[in-house]
Subunit: 333 residues, 2 copies
């Protein structure tokens, strides 16, 4: 037999309402009573029933994570962060994977309202789905967008790609590099232009010229990194001493070309990436890269939802990234 709140009340010699008060840390309970109740609850190993609580309070103690993201590591970290925050608030995280099409389709509202969740976290690229956001607003659902393209119209948690790229390039310059190659990401991704902006800003700030032949278009894939590196490194008499790729996959491609050409990394060529994905640590030398605060964004998003004290203004929370200096970068010869 499961112990209920009435069992605890009996054991403590009070009414169930008082027990409820204690367990929800409401005011107006005498200290002695409170302690007696707590003791009784512990003794009986009382666990509140989520369903009953939800029914009575018309809250579900659940928040939903909506995602359609091909990057498992990203999602897993968002989850971890969100779960961490949820646990602190007595909440649980519900997973709702869906395609972009579904998210913009007619059934989302039905799905979401059926869930009866108390809040929703949107992850990219769903963060940018206007139909989805409309639906949420129509349903009166509180939500937070992680890293949306347009900042300012909705409660947001994000990081600053421009600044991160700037700092990475500044680090290379401080190491003594003057001739730095850059590989642009996929042209459809908002992050690509931001990272390029950061690169160019840092170069300009340092008074270095932007040589167009040093800037190659890529598409975030390993092979495009390979191709870009083949171009950048083909002339052994005139090649950059460092290459900054807009993500780790492309940086790994650069490292592999360097290996094939007999160019030592990092003594003859520094290479750095972006995102700190698995490959950055798998290959050797391990990549210097930018670690996004992914877990922290997940945690912050949940906190914004759960801290009822926070209002629902479209506040933008910008979290700090980290530059991870590993074995693939160093001073030029």
């Amino acid at each position: 037999m499961k112990t209920t709140i009435t069992d605890v009340a009996k054991q403590a010699g009070v009414s169930m309402k008082t027990v409820s008060r204690v367990l929800n840390s409401e005011p107006n309970v005498a200290k002695a009573t409170r302690e007696r109740v707590l003791e009784a609850a512990a003794e009986l190993q009382y666990r509140p029933n989520l369903a009953a609580r939800g029914l009575a309070s018309s809250r579900s103690y659940l928040i939903a994570l909506l995602y359609d993201n091909p990057n498992p590591n990203y999602i897993i970290q968002i989850q971890r962060g969100a779960i961490e925050a949820c646990r602190r608030h007595g909440y649980h995280l519900l997973l709702e994977p869906m395609t972009r099409e579904q998210a913009s389709g007619p059934d989302v509202g039905s799905l979401l309202s059926r869930l009866g969740v108390d809040g929703v976290i949107l992850t990219p690229p769903l963060s940018d789905s206007i139909p989805l956001r409309r639906e949420m607003e129509a349903l009166g659902l509180r939500y937070v967008a992680i890293a949306p393209g347009d900042v300012g119209t909705v409660p947001t948690v994000r990081m600053d790609d421009v600044k991160a790229a700037t700092e990475m390039v500044t680090y290379l310059i401080e190491q003594g590099h003057r001739d730095i190659g850059f590989i642009i990401g996929h042209p459809d991704h908002i992050a690509s232009s931001k990272r390029q902006d950061g690169f160019e800003a840092a170069m300009r700030t340092a008074g270095l010229t932007l040589d167009e032949s040093r800037i190659i278009q890529g598409d975030f894939k390993f092979r495009s990194g390979v191709k870009a590196a083949e171009t950048l490194l083909k002339d052994s008499a005139n090649r950059p001493t460092a290459i900054f790729a807009s993500n780790d996959d492309m940086a790994a491609g650069v490292v592999s070309v360097a290996g094939r050409l007999g160019i030592d990394v990092p003594s003859e060529l520094s290479v750095c990436g972006f995102d700190n994905t698995a490959i950055a640590q798998i290959i050797w030398p391990k990549l210097t890269t930018v670690a996004q605060p992914i877990l922290q964004m997940g945690r912050k998003a949940a906190e914004v939802l759960l801290d009822r004290s926070q209002n629902d203004d479209p506040v933008v929370h910008t979290l700090d990234f980290e530059i991870l200096v590993r074995e693939s970068t160093g001073k030029p010869k």
Copy 2:
């Protein structure tokens, strides 16, 4: 105002019990009535309240996924599979990440019973935690273990590593390879010895001798693949025409060494891995590898939990893997 089951009943001109019957697809409802109810429900956009339903039926419509796994892709796929099955049954998946220590600790029971979930999925390495399993049994919680080390004492979903390795090597032999190198995985992992067993079985079946110098100990890491390849490939006059690494990271290491040594993959050296992790598709040439039925295992695990028709015998469900032939293997010269 939210529409409840009584609203629907009123609208359809029946009792709430009949509505309940229809919505739970219970028998003994006239077709006409059923349709009338369905119509009314649709019209009113009725969504059953999870909490109320749970409270009344003393089921939570929730199953929990317990995990402590460093591999994001693995967990994400298990999740996807489990969610798929859950959706079909009107269930939802709750995430419970925890460390091995926590899983064996005293608080798990409290955590799990507080949740009131209807079932639990255990993923490796938690599948092997005896204290955890004991706790579940003590609590009367139904559970399924994914890929536990010991098969037979608990409801299990898994795949056959030995068979997969055997088939991979058989494929290489069919391609014409006779001299095949093998890189063993981390000695602490159960999968390592199974994969080695499969390799050796296939070689023996084909009547090929097992040359010990062709079998190198690795540890599942990229670098150990690099080292093993350096050993296997150092003598250009006497080297294997194919190398089978026990996982993709090590296989990627082999490919990178081949590139450095000017050995073309696959025309001069076939390379294959195991697990179909991200790196297998990121690098070039893409790796021939074994795809575990990870998503399917997640789905099956949830199904075993949710199909009440299935009894709780420690049935072992062994799912099919897939050999993915990509660009890193071919016929020897």
